[in-house]
Amino acid sequence: MSDPMAEIRASFFIECEELLESLQDGLQTMDDGDTDPETINIVFRAVHSIKGGAGAFGLDNLVHFAHRLESAMDEVRTGRFHPDGEAIRLFFTCADVLGDLVRAARDDDTVSSDVTDPVLEKLEKLVGVEEEAEEDLDFTPTTLSLDFGDDMALPTLPDLSALPTPEPDPADAPLPGGKGFTIFFKPDPALYLSGNEPLYLFRTLRDLGDLTVTCHTTALPTLDQIDAATGHLSWTLTVHTEESEQAVREVFEFVDGLCQLDITPFATVPSATLPFPLTATPFLPPLSPPEQPASTAMLPDPTTVPETLVAKDTAVRVKPVETPPSESSAPAKPSGTPTQPHATVRVDLERIDRLVNLVGELVINQAMLSQSVTEAGLPPNSPISTGLEEFLQLTRDIQESVMMIRAQPIKSLFQRMGRIVRESSASVGKEVRLHTDGENTEVDKTVIERLADPLTHMIRNAVDHGLESPDKRLAAGKPREGHVTLTAQHRSGRIVIEVSDDGAGINRERVRAKAIEKGLIPTDAQLTDGDIDNLLFLPGFSTAQEISNLSGRGVGMDVVKSSIQALGGRIAITSQEGKGTTFSISLPLTLAVLDGMIVRVANETLVVPLNAILETLTLTQDDVKALGPQAHVVQIRGGFVPLFDLGAELGYRPPQESYVGGIVLLIGQEDGNRAALAVDGIEDQRQVVIKGLEGSYGPVPGIAAATILGDGQIALILDPTDLVSQASGRTRSRPPQHALAG
């Protein structure tokens, strides 16, 4: 059996991530000026819960930090401290450090006190919560050991029936001898109202040693005066035990202050002077007493009400407690109880991926079957065709559902960027605010993970290079505070993520000069603004006058671009001088399948992603204009679009003499430009399973991946945008390293 504590620990760290997320959310809401008390409650609870769980696992560093932060949040919650912008920024930093501590604890790592202490110091200075002396910490981080292995570490309820039950023989009961205590216990009426029950206390006491219970009924009023809720009874208990007085007191912990309690060790008790008063007893009529709130079973036979001290009253035989079957370790399932909201199941990612793969195979299989049916010449209304149609629909549904399992909101990623903005703006002395939108957009888990690095770099770039210093901003008539906006949305079957800043925009003169200096473009190159902007993506390009310690880490935008491309995505840049820059990343919804158009070029079958195709056209004489021997444009509704011959671009055959009557695919690109791809024919439109090529061939320019078609044939999947940019680069004599290979 797997270790249940290890499982809970793992689930604790997952919960921590959720709590950190709501902590960030709450702080963001506070930062936006929201003063709803529930917001600060959420923030407080998040820290509180992290502390609680951390304590259970003995994560002392985490407990310590969380405790201090919690105290600060408590000051806010109770209205003793009103946080301003600076305070909230500090809270954000605290949340970041708390996140570090959580992850360090998870990975058995440590966070240096050089990181935590200054933050705590600032917190203390700002909020004025002083560090409590460690022993005064309300919270005692006792390490919890839940070892339910072979020997039960848990002292479960003992089998009381096996304990020696005190004999009701008065001669032997209350005469104290050896070690032990004599306890006088008289509950106040309030004790019963608190839900406490003397009987249970006595049972607990019996675990300490031999117990004799004597009930005093002397205070019982006559029946007509009895108040059932009051109790009226008191007890003298003698317990023979080696345990300390403290252990005995602990039994009465919950009723402390709700009763008269005298605990006296045996040795000091002269047997003749028990510490309780004796009063004359009104005699009870021999009726069964009315309902007693406590211990009805312990009511003595009224005929034996004592007159003497030696408590002859009634030695009570305490009923054995039902001992729960301790070997039943199966978690008890509450049957018939309402199901918990948001029930979730944790599944190994590997299993999901296996399912994704199987569904991929299913899609291929389905395609093969469809093809066979078509080739067999069965009419479309035959049962087999309609059945297959339903099968197709089902396959699609299954596929979507499986993809949904892997999808998760991009929010966690966006929140991490909040920290990047805070840290990078602080290190370059800029004031930056991050706005996010579309955080609930769901993206494949792998995509989210692999986006973290490129996105981090882009955010750092935006803060470091995109935004101006506060002084420059003021001089340009902008607010001191710069803005970086991060958005995500679904757009025509793809995820589009944009990083924009309201900075100075790209200085194209400088970029151009730099590119010439580095030999990336010829000195006389004719470049559009868009072309210049795209120079940023060339390997080794850096415009920063001096490498700042922030972005200049040897990672350029070219690395960002290739990371995005590796995800089947594309990146584009738009910039307006003085207004800012926007990077736009477009990603496929899933990494496993895509809707493709099957085309034929020079007897080769290729797949073009459907979402890249704006329209398909058959060219007429009027549509095609030749610009030169190998350069053509297509006229579409008044505009001109460059024409690329797919067969020639891929090296399958020389360019065609004429494209009149040919078929072209109109391709839309991120930067808004269009291109026409000439193909020999369109065969079909269908879903294909992506099979990566990179593992075997490395990145191939213009080619995104491959797939297996219904007839078992292997076909390449094009990356039309890359292909077009490679091809147009070549027509403009780009440096050879960017030319299309082959």
Binding site: E15, R45, G52, L154, L157, F254, S329, A332, P334
Partner: protein, 121 residues
């Protein structure tokens, strides 16, 4: 019949741990996420004892205890408060709200069992 325990805590980790500790000791654990959820559970389960956290969304522990105590059906059910504070003030507050006893988090399973024993047999 094992002791039926309704444990209320908004932290999933804490619920997991309570569940483990309770079921390992042979008790039947019913788990609720907050006061509102716990009141719903009370309608369909008959716990012998309730363990509740204080800081919870929707309905906190104090309001939950108050709701339990003011309903005749449930007013006698012992209630243990789970708290990270052992401060006397908080205990007094818990008691004033009608709690029977308290368990200081992080709880020691043995102490949890003992506390349950002290209030519910």
């Amino acid at each position: 019949m094992s002791l039926q325990v309704l444990a209320v805590d908004d932290s999933r980790t804490m619920r997991d741990m309570l569940n483990l500790a309770l079921s390992s000791a042979g008790f039947t654990a019913h788990l609720a996420e907050d006061g509102v959820h716990a009141l719903e559970m009370l309608e369909v389960t008959e716990p012998d004892v309730i363990i509740t956290d204080i800081n919870m969304p929707r309905m906190d522990g104090f309001r939950f205890i108050d709701a339990v105590r003011s309903n005749d059906k449930w007013s006698r059910i012992p209630i243990l408060v789970l708290t990270t504070e052992s401060a006397d003030e908080l205990k007094a507050k818990a008691r004033a709200a009608g709690a029977t006893g308290w368990i200081v988090k992080p709880f020691d399973p043995a102490k949890l069992v003992k506390a349950l024993q002290m209030v519910a047999g």
